[in-house]
């Protein structure tokens, strides 16, 4: 009887061990969903699983607007989250809280972190928000910059020459905007320019660019706080932006709220928040590509040579990952398809793959993205750095409040600047 019991126990033990051993490792990655990009991401996940048959990869595709809060909640709850994607406006808070694992060169088959960093364009990891306190955490997944966009069909209609008349300065921008503005029976039917009038972040990014051009360092908390002691410069930047609505009237917010859709449907002749990916958006709105052109952000005549806001996404391995090295191997695979993404307008700053193969093909990029060489690449080199702060969202709200007070409440720019100064100084006390 005892022998029988012992035998059964042994069999059960072997069965359990075998089952446990045969169980696959599960890797859960949180990403955002985008119709054009999802199949490419799925291809990477499938390729990783084919190479690692004992690993099951689950990629959760989340609406971009909800992604960061879902990730925050899962991390707070200690749920299974091995890796996730954040943009450079979001990452500081998470990095400061210590939720990410520093880059592990073993995950890329490299000996040193420097070898990993060198696989991306210089400074890419920094611009994409993947560096904290001098330590590298992020695997760059996208690096883009905002450029200005103009409807050249409307330019020709207004008697302008697209080759020579695109705005170079903010004064030109106003002049061109006035010519492109269309009013019928006292009602604006086409804006010369518009930005998103409901979501503050886009207005913040354009305003941030202007502040950078005026010499204020809005890329870091220290610089932002220091800039609050320069009310004249702040006022100049705020006035330049709000005068589009208040004084020059090239932007009527009542016409439409979404600039990207507005540009695609002809409700605005210019907008300032589109990157290389906007070609795909324009196609969605059935706007003929021959009707639109990107051009460098206007500059102040006496300002710095700085382009539109630069932003990017990085992929991170979570501190809850059971096997961080495996996590980095997966992220390496996810970020190894720059030539697939560039065909759909999505720019990844990868120069070399881990196996030594070349990364982004410059010729393919130029062929896939109209004006890639002449506009996007040049502007990317002079991009305005997005504020890296753990209180970035609050700053964005405060700047949007400052803009809203002027354009919606009729407040004076100087008064709005005073309130902005008080808000920012109070925030960082």
């Amino acid at each position: 009887m005892a022998k029988k019991v012992l035998l059964i126990a042994l069999v059960v033990l072997l069965a359990v061990t075998f089952t446990v051993g045969a169980q696959k490792k599960k890797l859960v990655h949180y990403h955002w969903t985008e119709t054009l990009y999802d199949p490419i991401n799925k291809k990477a996940a499938d390729a990783f699983m084919a190479k690692n048959p004992n690993v099951e990869v689950v990629v959760l595709y989340l609406p971009d607007g909800d992604r960061v809060n879902i990730i925050r909640t899962v991390l707070a709850g200690g749920g299974q989250i091995d890796s996730f994607a954040l943009n450079n406006g979001e990452s500081a808070e998470f990095l400061e809280a210590g939720f990410m694992v520093p880059l592990d060169p073993k995950g890329f088959g490299k000996a040193a972190v420097k070898d990993v960093v060198d696989m991306w364009t210089p400074g890419a990891i920094n611009t994409c928000g993947g560096v904290w306190d001098g330590v590298y955490y992020g695997v760059p997944f996208e690096l883009s910059d905002y450029v200005a966009w103009i409807n050249v069909a409307f330019m020709k209609e207004a008697g302008m020459n697209p080759a020579t008349d695109k705005p170079k300065t903010w004064d030109d921008f106003v002049a061109v905007g006035k010519k492109l503005m269309k009013v019928e029976g006292g009602t604006t039917v086409r804006n010369g320019f518009m930005c998103n009038s409901k979501q503050g972040v886009f207005n913040f990014l354009v305003q941030m660019n202007m502040m950078h051009q005026l010499g204020l360092d809005w890329g870091a908390e220290k610089g932002l706080i220091a800039s609050m002691d320069k009310p004249d410069v702040l006022a100049r930047g705020l006035r330049t932006y709000t005068d589009f609505v208040v004084k020059h009237k090239i932007w009527d917010p009542a016409l439409a709220d979404d600039d990207r859709g507005g540009f695609g449907t002809g409700k605005t002749a210019m907008f300032l928040t589109g990157g290389t990916w906007y070609w795909g958006v324009a196609d969605y709105w059935k706007m003929p590509r021959t009707n639109i052109e990107p051009f460098p952000y206007p500059r102040f005549k006496d300002g710095k040579d700085i382009g539109g806001a630069g932003y990017g996404y990085c992929l991170y391995v979570s501190k809850f990952a059971k096997d961080p090295t495996l996590g980095f191997q997966f992220l390496d695979t996810m970020a190894s398809q720059p030539n697939e993404f560039i065909k759909v307008g999505y720019h990844q700053p990868r120069m070399k793959l881990s196996n030594g193969a070349p990364g982004l093909d410059a010729k393919l990029a130029a062929a896939s993205i109209p004006y890639y060489d002449t506009v996007f690449k040049n502007e990317l080199a002079k991009t305005a750095v997005w504020l890296s702060s753990t209180k970035g969202n609050q700053v964005t709200n405060m700047v949007w409040d400052a803009i809203s007070r002027v354009i919606y409440e009729g407040a004076k720019v100087e008064d709005s600047v005073k309130m902005l100064q008080a808000d920012i100084k109070g925030l960082y006390q």
Binding site: N69, R72, T73, L75, A76, E93, F94, A97, F99, G185, T187, T188, V189, S197, K198, Q199, D252, P253, A254, L255, A256, D257, N393, Q394, N397, D401, S404, R405, Y408, E409
Partner: protein
């Protein structure tokens, strides 16, 4: 006194078993989150760092926060006007549909009730387009009166734009409540009034309104509670803008939590919100319990 028999006691215990699933559901998804929210209101927490106990700091900050005060005032403004307009309109419609002079009653009632069943997000999206400067409403107003307010980008007009949408969406629901109330008024009262020479206004003032006191109380208090908790229309159409002129409490609570990651502060504001709703709910309970409602 005889003890209740074993079978009666067992039957009473079975009652608890039947309500147990609902009780569990409410405990998990309503009671526990409410208690958690009260608890979080005494902390500073962004979900990423450990909670920091701050005592009443969130509540003290709230009192001095112009955003909270603005939001509270906006909510009272939105609720006050919406409740009044909805109930007056619903009452008028109910009176109209109780009249024998009006034809096609079912059609008109259905038309007025239809917005109630529509998706609030779809309603918000469509009304947003209608309010834009080249949208249906300004175009019609300009044709009729030569001018139109700038609905969604004027801080004075935007709150009323939200009220119009909300009233349009909700009036059908309260119309049904008033119709049900009117059906309960005995016809003999009106006959007697007519015999005594009372006209329409006399009947309305001395019979209809007093008879509908309970229904009016129910409708008004329910309307206040639902309106105060409104979120979707403002969120879809204006996101609380322009310049926070439509940032009612529910939106402020949402933004503090999910945009600014200030979950403790958001919880504190939600406690204020809860206390306000509690006052209205207690009024409603008192009205029901005192026998003045439903009698």
């Amino acid at each position: 006194m005889r003890k209740a028999s074993y079978s009666v006691t067992r039957l009473q215990n079975h009652g608890y078993v039947f309500i147990l699933p609902t009780l569990l559901f409410f405990s998990l998804f309503l009671i526990y989150p409410m208690i958690s929210a009260f608890r979080f209101s005494f902390f500073e927490w962004n979900l990423l760092k450990p909670k920091v106990f701050v005592g009443f700091k969130n509540f003290i900050n709230m009192v001095h926060d112009s955003r909270v005060i603005n939001s509270y005032v906006r909510t009272l403004h939105f609720s006050g006007i919406s409740v009044a307009v909805i109930n007056i309109l619903a009452f008028v419609f109910a009176i109209m549909f109780s009249s024998r002079l009006l034809g096609w009653k079912n059609f008109w009632q259905s038309l007025i009730f239809l917005p109630v069943v529509l998706s609030v997000v779809a309603v918000g999206v469509v009304w947003e387009f209608m309010y834009q400067s080249t949208g249906l409403i300004p175009v019609i107003l300009r044709k009729l009166i030569g001018t139109s307010p700038v609905w969604l980008t004027n801080t004075k007009a935007a709150p009323y734009a939200m009220i119009i949408v909300y009233v349009w969406k909700s009036v059908g629901y309260y119309m049904v409540i008033y119709i049900a109330g009117l059906l309960d008024v005995p016809v003999s009262f009106y006959e007697a009034a007519r015999i005594d020479g009372a006209g329409f206004w006399g009947q309305l003032w001395y019979i209809t309104i007093p008879s509908l006191k309970n229904t009016i109380a129910l409708a008004v208090v329910s309307c206040v509670i639902f309106t105060y908790g409104q979120f979707s229309i403002q969120y879809v159409i204006t996101k609380g803008g322009p310049s926070r002129s439509t940032e009612i409490m529910a939106i402020l609570i949402y933004r503090q939590a999910f945009e600014l990651s200030k979950f403790g502060y958001s919880a504190a504001i939600s406690v204020l919100f809860f206390l306000t709703m509690l006052v209205f709910s207690l009024i409603q309970l008192r009205l029901f319990r005192s026998g003045t409602v439903g009698a």
